[in-house]
Amino acid sequence: MKKRIATVSLAGCFGCHMALLDIDERLLDLLQSVEFDRSPLNDLKKFTRRCDIGLVEGGCCNEENVHTLREFRRNCDVLIAVGQCAVMGGLPVMRNAIMHSEDPLRECLETAYLNSDKIYNPSNRIPNDEALPLLLDKVYTLAEVVKVDYQIPGCPPSGDTLWYTLSALLAGKPVELPYELLRYD
């Protein structure tokens, strides 16, 4: 029976999803043994049934990220944090370094939307539409929010690294990346 895989990008840049495409023609081999469920690759926005593997790119910077991540945890047997943002926060986590002020989130938003001379924002307002998910007080890694079964570091992990990891998992073998495939950048 084919294994079901779900993927999602939270506070990431979709670079890890691009890297998944970097497995090139091996994608055809992969599709022999797996089916994609919820994923931006097929535009399925909801789980159709329980999945064997969930691949999550990006960390959590807003409430929707948390909600989605928890959904993935509930619906996937094995949950994999893919890429540096999912593993340790990545570039978005740089906002945590201003966290130690009195009013950190305000400082972050004001720097992003109001107080920088690099910004064109004629309304001079911080976006606050009801449809916008609320930001978390700081950026969290996946493992801080749910139990994570595996982490694949890299920014992004190479196609080879992703291929190696998925092949091992699908074959039911332990994932031990060879030296050349283990990268934090």
Binding site: Q84, V87, M88, G90, V93, I152, P153, L177, L182
Partner: protein, 241 residues
């Protein structure tokens, strides 16, 4: 006449001369003991603890502990490697180590130690995410102390080789940091030619030479293909020219 003797590292017989540290004897025998604060040409200080080994069952830092005749040293056992992973993780979580945007990525010894020890999986260690200053006042040198791991190599190089004592530890505990001899680096007599500023001195991306970021392309960097070990130094000096 110095007395010679032998001892064992992970079952392998190693020669030593009276007064050798475990590290010296291991290096001479071609046995690699992982390390971060210890480096060729500087007095060992035993602070990072990554070189922890068990000597006759007692844990010691290999860079400072004298070798003992007929002793048994455990180096790359599962237990010791576990401690080392934890120590390297502590250093990662203590500072702000954003490998994807760091000039030292690929030649960073902390990163390379993570690779060598196979650190990939999640821990419960919290990220401390400190707010530390970047000092770019000097015309040739930048200090991004967010990446400092307190190995003290710049301190010892500046004090013992350059004779300048530009750097020193200040503060204590988790607030300990490397201070410079002035309000800013530009006020000190540090120079690009100092040993303290040599790319091989800072194991991470804390001391950066201006205009020399990302000099080696990905795939040709120090640790891209070979794990950190004896003879695979932090940076190839010719590469950096």
């Amino acid at each position: 006449m110095s007395k010679e003797f032998t001892f064992e590292i992970d079952g392998r017989l190693v020669k030593a001369v009276q007064g050798d540290t475990i590290m010296q004897a291991a290096d001479a025998a071609g046995v690699y003991i992982p390390r971060l604060c210890d480096t060729e040409g500087l007095e060992p200080q035993g602070s990072c603890r990554v070189c922890v080994v068990k000597q006759n069952g007692r844990s010691v830092s290999a860079c400072t502990q004298p070798a003992i005749a007929d002793s048994k040293v455990e180096n790359e056992t599962e237990e010791i490697q576990g401690y080392r992973r934890n120590l390297v993780r502590m250093l990662y979580h203590e500072g702000n180590h954003l490998c994807p945007i760091c000039e030292a990525s690929g030649r960073c010894e902390l990163q390379a130690m993570g690779y060598r020890l196979g650190i990939t999986q999640a821990t419960k260690y919290p990220y401390l995410q400190p707010v530390r200053p970047v000092d770019a006042s000097h015309p040739d040198i930048v200090l991004d102390t967010n990446r400092c791991i307190f190995c003290g190599r710049c301190i010892r190089a500046s004090r013992d080789i350059d004779g300048k004592h530009v750097f020193e530890y200040v503060g204590r505990g988790i607030h300990k940091r490397v201070g410079v001899n002035g309000d800013r680096l530009a006020q000190t007599n540090v120079e690009l030619t100092d040993r303290a500023i040599d790319l091989a001195t800072c194991p991470v991306g804390c001391i950066i030479q201006k205009g020399k970021g990302f000099f080696a392309p990905i795939g040709q960097r120090q640790f891209d293909h070979k794990p950190i070990s004896l003879g695979v130094a932090a940076v190839d000096p010719e590469e950096a020219e």
